[in-house]
Symmetry: D2
């Protein structure tokens, strides 16, 4: 098979079909320590079972590539078209989201068969069309990046599911503790000057529709923190009655924490007067030098108000990430929980925790959704949500860009979300 | 091991330890067609995962027999004491009932180990105490009958869980259809004269605390239907606007069906203008000669009002079940769905579907709960529930008595509940 | 107008029309201290605005007497037929119960005009038919007793509404404190022998349908407390961790108090470490000698369990109330809060607080609802509720009988409900 | 009293104290057709009783002006400090918002006394300080504009409350129908060129904190509709299955309309196959030429998507409103429902219905809340809401500016909200 789309990964040139294959394999690597029961857990409506992620990502390739573009394709199961449709009204009905955890059937084994069925046909597709059309390449890239999004979701969701179990199972028993004695790099502030900047994805790279079109924005001068807020800094906020003082909080945020009797980040647990944190490596004592994570927008905003600072806009973040200060230590090994900041420059941009901006998730001027049914990808979610920028330790490789826009509701915190402060100049 | 408690099963004499063993084995027979994912399903707070039933029944023996009475007993896992406590406040905390489906760990495999661990120690107990004390025999009998109750619950709960899945998985693929052409025996009415009757369990047999003490009641003359109401009869009620006419309904019942947009028994599904029923053998067309089942008290009561009859009191049922008319065809093979009435006499008393009475579930005069912690067994549920009498095709063997009192909330219908009519004379 | 139905009130003979007139006037006396805004309050779905009670009782006479039986009757407003229908599906639609407090229009003034309009026509009816038919007398009596029920509801509902207001308005400022120094009569136990008793209303007196038919019951010997449980006795229960110990509680009751964070009777309020009680005379310190009131069935049952006693059945209560011991001090003046027990014999039967029985509210054997549309009066509520017997200080005169069956859901406590203990012998 | 602050109203110069007086009087004019019961209605948690508005606006002057700045001030009632605090955590506790309709006491009469009590003291304050300090003038202006906001809320809330009543009471019986035969001016599109514009309130005029600070924004060229969308245009959307086709809707919007079974704007009612609209003048047939109003952001957004257009940003709206095209017919008489567009130019900017923008309600760069406790005025609501611009027929005179930012949650529609379309060029 001749490569019809070459790109660079770790200094090697891969074909898109290899990219597809690696991505699909990596998903299955992620579940190697999970049993069939683990893979079925759905601990809240916002989360999905691991098994569902495995099936839905396959459904995506089946529905948008194989069915319309490969004549020889044989549907694996007509039931799956409904069961594993997430939210595509253009495709048809969907199984009720909050009940996904009740699908014991198909079993994990059947779902893996479904995956391999789809994988084989995609290989066929690549062979059949020796030169894939731009349209097919675009859809294949979309499917691959879609799967990468679900790789992070899968880790977020199994973490949430395990956190409900009083035995606190560990997703991975490899210790995340080699950096126990590291001190977080000191906080610095970088200055950025007023300018008119072009925001959005470059024409030459893959991106989601929500990162387009490129457009100009007038950005006033500002300062940005060199690293994420640490657990230690967040504990000072907590000790200063941060959760008891409404003056720091948005009104909806205050209602939210009071209603949930919340007084700490999402996975924090107090035992015998000490704070612990549930992680994918199990329950462990809070490490003061690590970035605080699993905070909601309400908490991020309250912390910033308490600190006399603010959160950055997404344009400010994009501006800074393109600057000379931007610096992201390349982690040799993947990690399941953020590490303390280390080194100089603008640190922890995309490898530790997503960063809440103060920007509402809205269409860029002139925004056009993807064509056809895939058009439901991003646009219809552009209300009530807040943009996060950067990336996290759970984000798979080869997925991010400076223009990447992640988004969640302001009350959510089961994603790997952290805080980077900004300030007016 | 010398048998210290002999009783008759299928004309053979069994020791209580053999009774224990058979009962425990039968539970595991019930799950032989289920995979680990099936066993974890919890489709509503009222239901529990199969895996949880497997563990909880073991917890019962561990907690009430082994821990207090066998010095050499080694606890399997301290976590399980909380996880598998159902509602015994006297024992300690309980894991939140509605979240039982989120316990991927312990896995099914571990739970089966737990079962065998407990089984082995109970065997030890039987050997160690060559003659079990009356107290221990009583607790063992309670544990065995407790497990038999959970055998029926397990079937009810997996049926409910599978019913949510649009693929309608069958618990058993053995056809339940050999009686497809059978016509239900015609409905007759039996007369019973006014008398003062002694109600309640005999002193010489095992019973739950709620069947005691024996006491006298004055029962006025009445008539009782010879068999259960059939699907055909219930369809006439439906065709007569039974679900649209409030005059037949209790006020709370009317609110209940309107709020749930209910217009048929619980597992009935209309497809292409035909009624189907979800059963443990999968989805099948309604068989008009079978007893209607999975009806709530509200539906049973509305049907009776529409028919110009009423439901029997539990005392009336007990009276009739002791009469010369009482007749229950012994099913050679277990069945997973009720069969049409066949033969003469007072039919379908205990082998097809439980029968709603019009009696609130209340303590008998002079009621005393079981001693100690097992005292939470029945008494604390004696409000807001209605008594059902008889038994069902899902009830395991050697479990029932004429005095047996089953009870559910009036809105519930995931149990195998049917209707037998009564009338004043 | 010739009296066609004479009965005895305070040793004078009244016609039924005079009975009607007195009853209607008394309702308006009850609102003389309330302004239009007070009369519109609906503080929970179970309660209705005073204004609604005023209109609904008139609607009852209009709908069941005037429209069908007086040709010359002119409907006051067609809107009112829907707005003031409580729950009579046989009559037609009803305005949503929980929104009754949103009916600013009709104004109180208009509702009073509606009352007088109806009153005038009923007078006409009495004149027109110089001898009222038994059917009309029956309906008129039903309407009068229906209005008397709403007189008590009106007081219950305004009490609840005022209790929400942090200014704690008093319905009446006449002090209820003249008995501040009275000591409650000591508790005695009366023995009753086993017998077969005829239960239910006499044929010769008015009664609701639920008190009929008379029928025989076998009642086992029992003991009954001479008076209601006092606040002092209830405080001992509270001090003994009554609300913290699940062993005393029915399972549904335990869920109920825990969910509502309840640790005292309904209108009790702790201020500066002292218990106060909201009454129709405003907020006042707890009087230890008064009967405890506004307790739910769950609380009554838990108190009885803690005390090692039980609640009486309704048949036991009726038996005792007909005995030689029965004794009810006739209060010269109406009172708005129960008084301490005073005197000898079986005290506080019907003039202080309703008494929870342990009997579910069910039809008597052979029960037949009232004929026609008034048939929705009682029967359709015969599930999920518990019988209370006796009467309360809020019950108007000439309304009660020994056979009177009041009923509420076990969690409710905004009615004037108290506790009388019983015991097996 | 010497005027220390002069401004122009209808070409006359008024002192701020006269402005205060006129504003306070106008509030009482608004209730002249309402009785005490009307003034107590609270038909949903988002709305408040008219009586509460009357009291709360007085509380505002009492709390922020009189108590801190007038030594001789005597508190009217200590209860009112809690009862009529809306959401100022800095001031102290608040009575539960959703229960405001349960405050029969204080009566309307007492609340009016409270108003006059406060009015008199403010007069004193003006006399006492012959020259009001800038701080006091600022607070007085804030209080006046705060009251004007509540004048519009009062009308919105009584409209909602009356709409629940099946008798559909009219707030005002003056006919709003003199424009029945008017044809809406034809829709035109105005072009606006790319520019960098200064957005926000001028330093020299009163404004709320959320309109500040002035700052520059880069606005790309766009087109704006000359008038609001009419009922006729909206009916075409409805007839085109607008409410049945998810492709037009934001995902949260689709959930919202499906959950509420919504298929028309908020106050539209279908009777005998014709659409009617509930207005402050009572129920009336839809006038096709009037602007559609009481639409949610979700509806506005879906309509725009269906029409192939979009909603304007708030910056675009402000740009256009300052242009030569801007033109607002001055209504001689106040009106309670929007009128059809009439004339040339950019019409219906601020006198008919608020216009949904597509801008999230966020702080302007460099935003600082008002100092002290009044700082809770706007800032804490800056999440989850959407900006509306313009004004409505319910907005009182002398309240608006081009920079005025109104804001509501995207699902809300009980305010007078309409749609103006925009388009990219």
């Amino acid at each position: 098979m001749k490569s019809n789309f070459a790109f660079n990964v770790d200094n090697s040139e891969y074909s898109i079909c290899e990219f597809f294959k690696h991505t699909r394999q990596y998903t299955e690597i992620l579940i190697k320590n999970l049993n069939a029961e683990d893979c079925q857990l759905q601990s809240m409506p916002d989360a999905s079972p691991v098994k569902w992620h495995l099936a839905h990502t396959s459904w995506f390739f089946e529905t948008f590539l194989l069915v319309p573009h490969l004549k020889t394709y044989r549907i694996f199961s007509s039931h799956f078209q409904v069961l594993f449709n997430s939210y595509y009204n253009g495709i048809g009905n969907q199984f009720t989201r909050s009940l996904r955890g009740l699908l014991a059937r198909p079993s994990l084994k059947e779902v893996l068969s479904y995956r391999h069925h789809v994988d084989n046909y995609i290989q066929d597709l690549c062979c059949y069309y020796s030169e894939l059309s731009p349209k097919l390449i675009e859809l294949l890239m979309l499917g691959i990046h879609h799967e990468k999004q679900h790789q992070e979701l899968l880790l977020m969701d199994i973490k949430h599911a395990f956190s409900i179990n009083p035995m606190y199972p560990a997703y991975s028993i490899t210790s995340g503790n080699m950096h126990l004695n590291k001190i977080a790099a000191p906080l610095k502030w970088f200055n950025f000057e007023t300018l008119i900047l072009e925001i959005g994805a470059k024409d030459t790279e893959f991106s989601f529709d929500n990162e387009r079109p490129k457009h100009k924005q007038l950005i006033q001068s500002f300062k940005l923190a060199s690293r994420l807020v640490t657990n230690m800094e967040y504990l000072v906020f907590m000790d200063n009655q941060g959760y008891e003082n409404p003056q720091y909080w948005l009104s909806d945020g205050w209602s939210n924490v009071k209603q949930n009797h919340q007084n700490a980040p999402f996975y924090w647990i107090k035992k015998d007067d000490c704070w612990y944190e549930f992680t994918l490596n199990g329950l462990k004592p809070i490490n003061l030098n690590e970035p605080v994570c699993h905070v909601s927008y309400y908490e991020a905003s309250a912390f910033a108000a308490w600190a006399g600072k603010r959160l950055p806009t997404e344009a400010e973040w994009e501006y800074a990430s393109q600057s000379e200060h931007a610096f992201d230590i390349s982690c040799k090994s993947a990690h399941l929980h953020p590490h303390p900041a280390e080194g100089e420059g603008l640190l922890q941009l995309s490898k530790e925790a997503w960063q809440w901006t103060c920007s509402a998730y809205l269409p860029y001027p002139g925004f056009k959704p993807f064509a056809d049914v895939a058009g439901e990808y991003n646009g219809k979610f552009m209300v009530n949500q807040i943009v996060l920028r950067g990336g996290s330790c759970l984000t798979p490789m080869h997925h991010l860009r400076n223009s990447y826009r992640n988004f969640y509701y302001p009350h959510q915190s089961w994603m790997m979300s952290g805080i980077r402060l900004a300030e007016d100049t």
